[in-house]
């Protein structure tokens, strides 16, 4: 070993490392620093023993405190459930018509409904409930099946045109391509697109025999729709499948069959009611 070099100014030994001609003095660390280091090692060992730490195949060591992220989450969830238990009970027990009163209950239902909606409904109706072609916008004041809290709750409970719930709403837009001539379809298409442009007043709906004979039964005398059949208002600005002539022609020729699943069997009563209140409160509820 070569003799250690000394810094001429302080007479202290240097480490021998040199950066740009600057050398470091070999200053010893304080001893307590070493003890602190040992203490952290001991702390680490205790920690490893106390908490789940060592990986095994498919599991980990348990730790003598018995703590786990899962059980602490469960405890948290339970705590929240307990805190909301009374609100939850009123939500389930109250008459539907009374649910709108009570600021706290309503707030709770809206918050819970929003969560239920995001998890179960947004994939079809959109995260903002704005809908898309074939999937109705739930924010507007136009309802295929009625906009009262009762109708909305019924729809969400039983769904529409599904095969799983015998109480589901069931009526469909027939495919007129099988019964009507091409010309008739073309003329009906033209008529409906004119309706769409809201020229209702100029158009005498009663005098259009094609429409009266084929369509009025469901869409109504004035083509304003029928909520008990889910037949849309053809005179308003809102179109589920589009108001351009191609879409309308396709609707008349092939029919439409929008399916909405029933949620009665899948969601708890509290969730159902909460999401109904939420949808009703989105802006169009009657």
């Amino acid at each position: 070993m070569k003799t250690p070099e000394k810094d001429p100014h302080t007479e202290v030994e240097t480490t021998g490392h040199s950066w740009d001609g600057i050398e470091e003095l070999n200053t010893p660390l304080p001893r307590w620093w070493l003890w602190t280091f040992y203490a952290t090692i001991i702390w680490g060992l205790i920690y490893i023993a106390a908490y789940p730490a060592l990986p095994f195949f498919g599991s980990t060591s348990n730790g003598f405190l018995g703590w786990s992220a899962r059980s602490s989450l469960e405890a948290d969830l339970q705590q929240h459930k307990d805190r909301h238990a009374s609100l939850n009970n009123t939500l389930v027990d109250a008459e539907l018509s009374n649910l709108q009163t009570g600021q706290e209950l309503r707030q709770y239902a809206l918050a819970r409904g929003a969560a239920v909606f995001t998890a179960n409904c947004s994939q079809c109706h959109g995260a903002g409930a704005g809908g898309t072609v074939g999937y109705p916008n739930l924010l507007d004041n136009d309802w295929l099946w009625g906009g009262s809290l009762e109708s909305i709750t019924y729809i969400i409970n039983h769904g529409i045109r599904n095969t799983s719930d015998p109480d589901a709403q069931f009526s469909e837009m027939p495919a007129f391509g099988e019964f009507l001539e091409e010309d008739d379809i073309t003329s009906l298409t033209q008529f409906v697109t004119q309706l769409a442009q809201a020229k209702t007043k100029e158009l005498n709906i009663d005098e259009n025999t094609l429409f009266v004979e084929n369509c009025s039964g469901c869409h109504g005398q004035n083509a304003t729709g029928n909520e008990s059949l889910g037949a849309p208002d053809l005179t308003d600005a809102i179109w589920l499948y589009g108001a351009d002539s191609d879409s309308v022609e396709k609707t008349i020729t092939d029919g439409r069959f929008g399916v909405m699943p029933a949620w009665g069997q899948r969601l708890s009563e509290a969730d159902l009611r909460a999401v109904s209140i939420y949808v009703h409160a989105l802006g169009g509820g009657e």
Partner: protein, 473 residues
């Protein structure tokens, strides 16, 4: 002595015990005064009452973590106003720059908690075990009954002080009088007890045993400060040109320094100031007091060890006249720092006073950007976040300015026209703005709107800008 250069091959170094001697003089008195004030503020501040009505805390200074509120006398800060706290931190930082460039390490020497508590602990130590020489004897003596008795008494008093320190801390975070009661009945939250224990332990260890080690090895501040000091910064220094060559009292041809080691013996950091500027020196000025005392006794001028700047050392050692330290305290650099510091302060005070007690932010719900009603009207959805900063519930009303024909409706179960926001809380209100289909705003992508929120009782208003999205053809 801490900073004696030595050559050893050991990898680790044991802590050198330091036994600071009692000293008296103007700087020592100043330090006692600073200690009384800082400790007084620390222990008493949480107990100052302040009336804020029945619903809010009546503690003048409170960091209410649970409810996310910060109270400081008449000021109440909510989490969204955290920039005030950021501003205070910036001021604290600049304040340290200011003090460092003007007075060097005054923070370290006088006001740092580590210094203040260590000082207090040394005081206790001296009361119980005696001054430097007695302590030295005790330290190196055998573990007799007397030694045990003194040690245990000292540790006990230290622990009491430490417990008081940790105990006072928690009162800043929850209602002090309730917490004090819960503390003794063991009903307080475990976090309270663990905070107190940790702070008790750190105070005991840092003040009683680690002392100068904290400053030398753990604290980043001496390193940072070194970067802010220049040749005109005050520091405590030894006038070597006056003192050297040092020698015993009777020796002839010596300088003013009689090598009495008074400066070394009083030093809480255990260094010899005569070695020149050292990182270990916290500039507590006790050696100035000690040396002045000796100089007075032997009939020399005071100031052999004194507050000096590096630039003066050269001037003075070349025979120049000493320059008044005030010249270095008031110089452009310190004025500039003071200016920046106070303008931030004034800015913050101004911002505090123009704060409105109603606060509204509007968020347009952009999913979807707009929607059509069955009659072709265009609707936008918004969320207003209303903050009521008063201690009682208030009723607000929303209103649009900046255009006709905009219909504003609140989401509510009963067609309500007003919004009630509970005391000291935030409320989220969803609302709609609708225009008929032939309204100009229905057809253009963006129309700017201004929304007003008004307290219907006293007419206080505040506004917020937002936009309306139409349906371009």
């Amino acid at each position: 002595m801490i900073n004696k250069f030595e050559t050893s091959n050991a990898l680790y170094k044991a802590q050198e015990p330091v036994f600071p001697r009692r000293v008296s003089g103007p700087f020592r008195r100043l330090k006692w005064a600073v200690m009384a004030v800082t400790l007084g503020i620390y222990y008493l501040a949480p107990w100052i009452p302040w009336d804020r009505g029945t619903q809010l805390s009546d503690q003048a200074i409170l960091v209410d973590l649970a409810n996310r509120r910060f109270y400081f006398f008449w000021i109440e800060i909510w989490p969204h106003e955290f920039y005030f706290v950021a501003g205070l931190l910036i001021m604290a930082g600049l304040g340290l720059f200011l003090f460092t460039s003007a007075l060097g390490r005054v923070w370290c020497g006088y006001a740092c908690p580590q210094t203040v508590w260590t000082d207090l602990f040394i005081l206790v130590e001296r009361w119980i075990e005696g001054d430097r020489n007695a302590r030295l004897r005790l330290f190196y003596g055998k573990w007799t009954f007397r030694k045990w008795r003194l040690r245990i008494t000292k540790w006990f008093v230290w622990i009491l002080i430490s417990f008081g320190t940790g105990g006072a801390w928690v009162f800043y975070f929850t209602d002090a009088s309730n917490l004090a009661r819960d503390l003794w009945s063991f009903d307080a939250h475990p976090v309270v007890y663990s905070s107190i224990s940790i702070l008790t332990l750190t105070t005991f260890v840092f003040g009683g045993f680690m002392r100068e080690q904290i400053c030398i090895y753990m604290c980043p501040w001496p390193r940072i400060q070194a970067a802010m000091m220049d040749t005109n910064t005050l520091s405590v220094a030894y006038r070597s040109w006056r003192g050297e060559p040092r020698g015993k009292m009777r020796q002839t041809g010596r300088g003013d320094c009689i090598d009495c080691l008074a400066c070394v013996n009083v030093c809480p950091m255990g260094i010899d100031i005569r070695q020149g500027q050292q990182m270990e020196c916290i500039a507590c000025a006790l050696c100035i007091d000690a040396c002045d005392d000796v100089m007075a006794k032997i009939g020399h001028d005071r100031g052999l060890v004194d507050y000096l700047v590096l630039a003066d050392e050269e001037v003075e050692s070349a025979g120049g006249q000493p320059v008044s330290v005030w010249k270095y305290i008031f110089r452009p650099r310190t004025f500039l720092y003071a200016l920046i510091w106070s303008s931030i302060g004034i800015g913050m005070i101004y911002a505090l006073f123009i704060r409105n007690d109603i606060d509204m932010t509007i968020r347009p719900v952009r999913n979807p950007t707009y929607l059509m009603q069955s009659d072709g009207a265009i609707r936008n959805i918004y969320e207003a976040r209303l903050r009521n900063k008063l201690g009682e519930a208030r009723v607000f009303q929303l209103e649009i300015t900046g255009g006709k024909g905009f219909l504003l409706q609140l989401q509510s179960s009963n067609q309500a026209k007003t919004i009630t926001v509970p005391a000291d809380s935030t409320y989220l209100q969803r609302f709609y703005i609708t225009v008929p289909k032939d309204h100009p705003a229905a057809k253009i992508p963006l129309t700017q709107l201004r929304l007003w929120v008004e307290d219907i009782e006293n007419g206080n208003r505040s506004s917020s800008k937002t936009a309306f999205n139409g349906a371009p053809e």
